[in-house]
């Protein structure tokens, strides 16, 4: 028989502090797993993820690819009979994972785009042309047309350490 792992309440406490404050209410019924659209297509099991977070099994949770298969659809959150705010727990775990360097390259690129431009989607010449054709301003009246506004968004990134996170991917 494999040796039982020791729970690590210190990690669980950190999950609670990072926003997963209801994680300890889970009694492992599995309503979440049964409701999960992502789990229908993959081996991702929400119930197991929550259990590992409760037991403080940091090394099973933070590097795990499964942590990133949740679409944040809130179906489990809605149906949980114990009121576990599961999406909040997953967000807390993801924030912790990213700070440990577990940030996938496509995600780092998305984060880089917002930190540089203030938007998650680029403004191409063809977009400007179509906007103009539709009677809209070619450049949307957002940070795209206001350098001072963009500076403000960049300052927020600097104050949160988000710019560094984007450069290094948390490593």
């Amino acid at each position: 028989m494999p040796e039982a792992k020791e729970p690590n309440p210190e990690f669980t406490r950190k999950v609670v502090e990072a926003g997963g404050k209801t994680v300890n209410l889970c009694f492992q019924c599995g309503t979440c797993t049964g409701s999960c659209p992502s789990g229908r297509q993959t081996a991702f099991r929400v119930r197991k993820l929550v259990r590992r977070a409760q037991l403080g099994f940091e090394e099973d949770v933070l590097p795990s690819d499964d942590l990133w298969l949740c679409t944040t659809c809130f179906t489990c959150y809605e149906r949980c009979p114990r009121g576990v705010e599961i999406v909040d727990v997953i967000m807390a775990l993801r924030n912790m994972a990213v700070r440990k360097g577990y940030m996938a390259e496509p995600h780092r690129k998305v984060a880089e785009l917002i930190s540089k431009t203030g938007h998650l989607v680029t403004l191409r010449d063809e977009d400007k042309a179509l906007r103009t054709k539709l009677g809209l301003e070619g450049t949307p009246p957002t940070v795209f047309s206001d350098p001072k506004a963009l500076e403000e968004v960049k300052k927020i990134a600097a104050l949160c350490g988000f710019d560094k996170l984007v450069q290094t991917g948390g490593k």
Binding site: P37, L69, T71, H107, P141
Partner: protein, 284 residues
């Protein structure tokens, strides 16, 4: 009716500007006064950006809320993602004084503004249902076509329902009622209410997994005889529109945002709807 700051977000103005031109026309036709929120940014996206750093997510959202507050307007959005971020962050800042203090410190240092909690964040479907009314929409929708519509609510319009309190998250009707007021028939389909697959950073990180969820929805819509998919979120819209191309011809169901459906029903010329950028051909 109050005046609303029209929050544009990213995908609508940059990839589907026809949704924006339709929205402006439809709001105008229904007497909803909108103004641009100059200098607003990405909301930021509630799945992917919140996953990285919640303090950053809330602070950028608070800046967008503060812009509306300074203008003295509430916010209306035509995107579930923008709605979720702005609504949830406004809710958190209103109910967690410590968090509000922390976020306002960052906001003030970066912009000179603070957010004082006075802005209501509205999703356009909810605004149309509650403030404009289904009958007022029906009265304008003379050009509506009676097609079988697969209505896709998406996730973040109604959920989390404990704070949004718009409709029953499991058996909603508000969106279907508007689609039917526009002359269409909303068909029942298996697992209606399931996620399109794109959210939470899944589309960016594991597009194959996202597409499997999209395909399951498309199979269910097709089996119900759907002639059009109607969404209320540009991200779901992108996932169904581009997703059908990625699935290489297995499906060919046109994807329209509710604002485009209303635009058509209100008699807006087709060239105002920007349908030429839709990747799945719109032949309705």
């Amino acid at each position: 009716m109050a005046k609303y700051g029209f929050f544009l977000g990213c995908i609508m103005p940059l990839r589907y500007p026809g949704i924006e031109s339709s929205s402006r026309e439809v709001f105008d036709a229904l007497g909803v006064e909108i103004v641009d929120m100059k200098g607003a940014s990405c909301c930021p996206a509630p799945g992917v950006m919140r996953s990285f750093d919640q303090t950053y997510w809330m602070s950028v959202a608070a800046r967008n809320l503060a812009i509306a507050e300074k203008m003295g307007v509430d916010i209306v959005t035509i995107c579930n993602g923008c709605f979720d971020t702005l609504f949830e962050v406004a809710h958190k800042l209103n109910h967690d004084p410590e968090m509000r203090k922390k976020v306002n410190k960052i906001l003030k240092d970066a912009t000179g503004m603070e957010y004082n909690g006075t802005v209501n964040v509205r999703h356009f479907v909810e605004l149309l249902y509650r403030d404009v009314g289904v009958e007022a929409i029906r009265a304008k929708a003379k050009g509506g076509k009676n097609l079988k519509a697969a209505v896709h609510y998406g996730c973040h319009f109604l959920k989390p329902s404990n704070i949004k309190k718009i409709d029953d998250a499991e058996r909603p009707h508000v969106f279907d009622d508007i689609v039917e007021a526009a002359g269409m028939t909303s068909v029942a389909y298996k697992d209606k209410g399931m996620c399109c697959g794109a959210g939470g950073g899944v589309r960016a990180r594991t597009p194959d997994v996202a597409l499997k969820m999209t395909r399951e929805n498309l199979v269910n819509m097709k089996n119900a005889g759907a002639e059009v998919i109607v969404d209320c979120c540009p991200f779901c819209h992108l996932q169904y529109d581009a997703g059908q191309v990625a699935l290489k011809g297995e499906f060919a169901i046109p994807v329209l945002h509710l604002m485009q459906i209303l635009g058509l029903a209100f008699g807006l010329p087709k060239e105002k709807l920007g349908l030429e950028v839709h990747q799945t051909k719109v032949n309705i």
